[in-house]
């Protein structure tokens, strides 16, 4: 006779490790369904992590650019105004601006009526979007530009036909090195290339230009003696004061024609626009995540209906209602955790790939990744709650009547 060893009132008990094992048994037995239901969540998480990662990376790239450019640079331009002026600076505008005390350094570029070609055999007009400008020697310092190869214009090279090429101009003219004396064809003559430049921060126009000294431009080409654009770097903290002061200084007769802008503002505006876009995509990711969560809830409801027999069996084997509820809740969380893990990996991968292609510093969004994974767990728990409660409510005999 089997001895009565245990009191019948000993409660049933499921170890925590077995909660996990039991919860994993369903997804493990139905791999295809597991993959598909995790997919929805993973798309949502990947979108959110990717968007956050890309926005952080692109923002850090923008901030790098802003700090390279400096926030104390002002651009001064002249346009046709209602005052009936001619829309150009007076010739002495640059000198006047330079006399303002808070202006650390200022320089100007001047339009040159000529095009730059690789050689005389290129038909005139095929400028490839390149232009020719003249500049004061201080331009490079004013704009924080830097030399790629060769040298910037000096006292000598400013006065005879010689140019420095912007980065894009050099590339389009097929000039990759200056080890040999190199010439381009400007106007009706060959002009020596004495240097090439790195990309300017936020001055794409100059990147596409051949830049010569202002004295040389006046002597050898048809150049406007009045500046086209003036750049001024001012002391920090005097930006607003200078913005107000510069128009009257540059053009006392028609100050209303003068506009003063701050290039770093454009970058900051871009950063703000990126933020808005990020919010939009983040919202789309959240919607995808929600849809993924609904997918999991759907799959779990089906699982509970399909697996009534298993539920009844487990109750017969001693599972309490709470054990059944925990099993299906765990199952839902496992599905969403799988989706979350895959989504985080995809999001980081996308960030890495796109940022490196853009040449940005890759910033792995660790907060976004952790947050995304937690969000997935939360979604899974929420999605599993109702199906798990239904499973737990099922009477054992009802479940066994398969």
């Amino acid at each position: 006779m089997t001895p009565v060893r245990q009191s019948p009132t000993l409660a049933s008990r499921l170890r925590p490790s077995d909660v996990l094992r039991v919860g994993a048994s369903g997804p493990r037995a139905r791999k295809m369904r597991t993959a598909l239901s995790a997919l929805g969540v993973s798309i949502g998480i990947a979108a959110m992590v990717g968007v956050l990662g890309l926005s952080e990376s692109s923002k850090s790239a923008l901030l790098d650019e802003i700090s390279a450019l400096g926030t104390n640079l002002l651009t001064v331009e002249s346009g046709v105004g209602i005052g009936g002026g001619d829309g150009s600076f007076p010739e002495e505008a640059l000198a006047a601006i330079n006399r303002i005390e808070a202006v650390e350094i200022a320089s100007a570029i001047y339009d040159v009526d000529a095009s730059v070609l690789k050689n005389e055999f290129v038909p005139n007009g095929q400028t490839r979007g390149l232009g020719v400008v003249a500049a004061s020697q201080s331009l490079l310092d004013t704009l924080n530009g830097s030399i790629d190869e060769g040298s910037w214009l000096n006292n000598a090279t400013s006065t005879y036909p010689a140019v420095v090429l912007g980065s894009v101009a050099a590339e389009r003219l097929g000039i990759s090195t200056l080890t040999q004396p190199t010439y381009v064809y400007i106007g009706e003559q060959y002009v020596e290339v004495v240097g090439t430049l790195e990309e300017f921060p936020l001055s794409a126009d100059l990147d596409r230009s051949a830049i010569m000294g202002q004295p040389a431009a006046e002597e050898f080409f048809e150049s406007d003696p009045a500046p086209a654009t003036i750049f001024a770097r001012v002391e920090n903290g005097t930006i607003d004061a200078n913005r107000a002061l510069i128009p009257a200084t540059a053009d006392p007769e028609n100050p209303e024609e003068i506009t003063v802008s701050r290039p770093s503002d454009a970058l900051e505006a871009q950063a703000a626009a990126d933020d808005a876009l990020t919010t939009l995509f983040l919202g789309l990711g959240a919607v995808a995540l929600l849809v993924g969560g609904i997918g999991i809830a759907n799959v779990m409801v089906i699982a509970v209906i399909e697996r009534r027999g298993e539920i009844g069996l487990r109750r017969a084997l001693g599972a309490t209602r709470a054990h059944i509820r925990r099993q299906f809740l765990t199952e839902a969380v496992i599905l969403s955790a799988l989706g979350g893990a895959v989504g985080v990996a995809l999001g980081i991968g996308a960030t890495y790939l796109y940022s490196s292609l853009q040449g940005w510093r890759v910033i792995i969004p660790s907060t976004a990744a952790a947050g995304g994974f937690l969000a997935a767990l939360f979604i899974g728990a929420a999605a599993g709650l109702y199906p798990a409660m239904r499973a737990a409510r099922l009477a054992p005999t009802e479940a066994l009547r398969a």
Partner: protein, 233 residues
Amino acid sequence: MSRAAALEMRNVVKEYPGFPPVRALDDVSVRIDHGELIAVVGPSGSGKSTLLNVMGTLDRPTSGVVSIDGNDTATLSDKQVAGVRARRIGFVFQQFFLLDGMSAIDNVANGLIYQGVGLNERRERSAETLKRVGLGHRLTHPPSHMSGGERQRVAVARALVHEPAFVLADEPTGNLDSKSTGAVMDLIAGLHEEGTTIAVITHDTKIAASLPRQVTVFDGRIESDTALQSSYT
């Protein structure tokens, strides 16, 4: 005898709600002593499964008392009743109810999981029990790759692995051929010899006749019980 009955039902009524409600058990009283092996017989729809489920705490009676080892199950919480099933009772069903996603040994080990037995001990004891039912060579097979007879032996192993005091079997041979039926009934006879208290629902009159006691259910009532040496017609 002063000792409490292994299983006892007193004036048990079970009604399923509906229009009109179905009275599946109508004032049933039955007492099963420790170590008994009984056959529950009766026509389809007479209430045999209901009797077994109420007896095994899978269902609560509408009225009346069900006690196990002298404990009134009505006084136990869901957790405690589940504990009774986990430790004291082994169920065998006609449809086996094996989980296809896991091996035979893990199916059997499910019989120990709700007692809080650790994984290694579960597997060890399950392997032993599978050997005992003659499936030592099929430990890692999934049930879907097994014959009906083998599947039912896995299910029997699952019902036995925790060494229950009671085994309740609802038509365990209903889906089996005669050879497999013999194997399963031999296992039940072996358990009976070891002292386990067993109730088997069967439609097979030969099997019923071979067991020490027969309880016949008709229309929700106990029509005859060979232990009472009486019958009403």
